[in-house]
Symmetry: C2
Subunit: 221 residues, 2 copies
Amino acid sequence: MATISKENYLKAIYLLTRENGNRISTSVLANDLCVTNAAISDMANKLSKQGFVEYKKYKGIKILSKGKKIAVDILRKHRIWELFLVETLGYDWGDVHLEAEKLEHCTTNNLIDRIDEYLNFPAADPHGAPIPNKEGNYRIQTDDTIMSECEIGKNYTVTRVNDRNSDLMNYLSQIKISLNKEIKIIDKLNFDNSIIVEIDGINHSLSEILVNNIYLKESKK
Amino acid sequence: MATISKENYLKAIYLLTRENGNRISTSVLANDLCVTNAAISDMANKLSKQGFVEYKKYKGIKILSKGKKIAVDILRKHRIWELFLVETLGYDWGDVHLEAEKLEHCTTNNLIDRIDEYLNFPAADPHGAPIPNKEGNYRIQTDDTIMSECEIGKNYTVTRVNDRNSDLMNYLSQIKISLNKEIKIIDKLNFDNSIIVEIDGINHSLSEILVNNIYLKESKK
DNA sequence: TAGTAAAGTTAAGCATACTTAAATTATTTA
DNA sequence: TAAATAATTTAAGTATGCTTAACTTTACTA
Ligand SMILES: [Mn+2]
Ligand SMILES: [Mn+2]
Ligand SMILES: [Mn+2]
Ligand SMILES: [Mn+2]
């Protein structure tokens, strides 16, 4: 059985794998989960024994299909809860992540399927992240670029934001950045990696942290 | 801080206190929580050190206001979740208790207050149990009698059922017993403590277990 | 390529929440 | 009231999931 801790480890390994490649190092995972390397080594052995991951000493952790299944299951619960909180209960998009972090572990498949149906089988969560369906398949293909790598002079649409920093998201709301918003890259400043963007005709300077947490897609028009 | 285990202990102590009187014995609590007496003694010491209960060796456990506060808080969450599952997601009343047992521990006060508002501040859960408000006060007075103590020939209304046995509740649905249903006590059989009742013009024999899990109020008409 | 720094693992220990088995206290009952 | 029985507590041990400190392996650098 996967405990709450194991569910969180598998979810983190799965998500980091998509960002950082095939094998995840102990310290990357330790940093992500805010625990010591020792805790990771310990848990990696347990997850490996249960067939959730492949773990070779000093060579990092690789998620296996059995572990991926649990990770996607938790991700589905997390994202559906986030959308439910925003859509049905009127939460701000910056306030849902922590609630979902807790709810995802005490939600049966039956319950999440009913909420999924209640929300009419949504494709994405309030931050633009894709929601896996009952079978674990994503309903939309995400095809976007991190803002830091976008090009000067082009117009983009906001497709996704990282949802872990509540303050960051509140700030985005304040300067009117939301999902599907049209923005234009005005300039990129190399000395501090900030980017000047135009939003609703107003120029804003976005810090390095900000541009590394926003994903865009080039506008068609 | 109160862990999930402590929340469950305090909730059980609180509810048993209302049934069994002021002090709860170790074995009554052990039976209710399906753990050994040793586990109860152990936890009773911890809860006592934290000021949630008063515990005197061999003399049982008494809940204190600090513990009662947590118990009522969890009860509020439990009952609001149960109602939400039935009202909003279309669950049967027999299928909500176990879901709520899990959800109640991972629900912030903010979240439950929003669901409470979404449900328009309900007074009772799907089984007729009163829902405490934000301040911990009950919105209705429960004034009912256990069916086993009702009188032959009188008409009653169903006010409440115990919600722990899913099969029992499914059976009640089957014979059309639901909240606010009008029923008449036809006969009480002393040899097996069963009761014959009339429901929708049809007579049913209800076993001892059943009549100890249904609460009634005498009809006015 | 040896030496050092960084990364990762192992060992020992702690808190929580249980268990079984032994010891103790309380309650019956003869 | 003394022995038997029942209820309860204490002791010792287990699993989980962490910690710090010590040790080992790998990577980098001169
Ligand atoms: Mn999230
Ligand atoms: Mn999200
Ligand atoms: Mn219940
Ligand atoms: Mn109930």
